[in-house]
Symmetry: C2
Subunit: 230 residues, 2 copies
DNA sequence: TAGTGGTCTAGACCACTCA
DNA sequence: GAGTGGTCTAGACCACTAG
């Protein structure tokens, strides 16, 4: 009740805000004032208020003080798991099948997404991810062999391309785009759905520092939904 | 260069990890060791390592020490903005139009999502969100009037239902689900697309403490994509 | 320019968990 | 049982910015 952990302090302040004790947009007490009120050090209050700011509950500014955000920012920590983990999370057995693999000299759109010129050698892959042997997601991927030459001779029977790359080139950064798309003939055939079926689609392009590594399009077989709490 | 801010320390450790100085899964130096190496206090190292743990780069355990995550957890801070802000972010003018509004006595699916019995009075709304006067997203929403009685007589001409609710009942929590769906006749007509068009769809149910407030389905007119960095 | 949050430090004790 | 991270404290100085 009278705990002075940063966790307890954070929840006590959050409760006051939720209860409407401070009007939206209003300035709330400063760190020093809270510290005295709660009988703890300013450092502890600081950590509690920083956490609330990270959550989008309050807004902090030097000299300006801490204010209740007029509209809380709805945000969530979205984790994008490996397809294998998505499958295994539902207690199904994960397998994958390499449908196609080869050097792609065209791939204009993939080059654009990776901001690559026309000369870089790209490997193109099509992979089908299965859950208990049934189609789960269809993946088209292009890999920049200039950045990852070893990929040209990678054994993709154990680990899928994505898993191979994430092990070989960890700590990369990237851009993700979620959308809805019509199943192409190719995707429809692989996923065993009618052409034109709405597919939840994830596009992702990955860099290591400034070097583009790979770009991919992952199409999930319905019904698939990405769930999270907010 | 020799800055001892938690920010600088974090980046120096991150650089070592990225450079492969510590093998994946390996234990890295403890807080005390880093503190001496970098000439700063253990508190500062602690904050830097906590930040890396939040990012999913390392894993920390008491007595077990800090380890490089074998596979970094790809996660992103996904912000779900108000539709108005999504529109205005592209420098278009936001308007909305209320297509339907009334008490809904059935709404079995909505009741299930809110975990409500058959007796609670629900208000049903259909709203079209527009960007520069053109359809942008179609919203179907149910509001639990038991939790928000004032909503029954809310003036929704200035603020949309979502904006009204977020102002009246801020700091709520909820569940979100992203998926791809076929445009229903109703949605297709409102969005001026053919029936069956793939629509990026966001379902969201909101609670305030334990009380269900509202559930909604938002269907975005193509082309729409939710972009974020990772 | 004054007030507020941002941050560092040194020291201390605690809690978890691996061996 | 011992080692490691988790956290609190008191004090200090700094950096930003509102008024």
């Amino acid at each position: 009740m009278t705990a002075t952990t940063h966790h307890a302090i954070r929840e006590r302040i959050r409760a006051r805000i939720k209860a409407g004790e401070y009007p939206l947009g209003a300035r709330i007490p400063g760190e020093a004032e809270f510290a005295e009120a709660f009988g703890c050090s300013r450092t502890t209050v600081n950590r509690a208020l920083r956490a609330l700011a990270d959550e989008g509950i309050v807004e902090r500014r030097r000299k300006g003080g801490t204010r209740v955000r007029p509209l809380p920012v709805p945000q969530a920590q979205l984790t994008i798991p490996l397809v294998r983990e998505q499958v295994e999370a539902t207690r199904r057995r994960y397998t994958h099948r390499l449908l196609a693999r080869g050097i792609d000299l065209a791939a204009g759109e993939a080059r654009a997404r990776m901001r690559l010129g026309a000369t870089a050698p790209l490997m193109h892959l099509e992979t089908l991810h299965l859950a208990d042997g049934r189609p789960f997601a269809f993946e088209r991927r292009w890999v920049n062999l200039e950045a990852v030459p070893a990929f040209a001779s990678a054994d993709l029977s154990v680990f899928s391309a994505n898993e191979w790359l994430v092990r070989e080139v960890p700590f990369s950064n990237g851009e993700v785009s979620l959308s809805a798309a019509s199943a192409s003939e190719r995707a429809a055939e692989a996923l065993a759905v009618p052409t034109g079926t709405p597919l939840f689609t994830l596009d992702r392009t990955t860099w290591f520092d400034e070097a583009p590594i790979t770009t991919m399009t992952l199409s999930y077989r319905p019904p698939f939904a990405l769930d999270f709490a907010i």
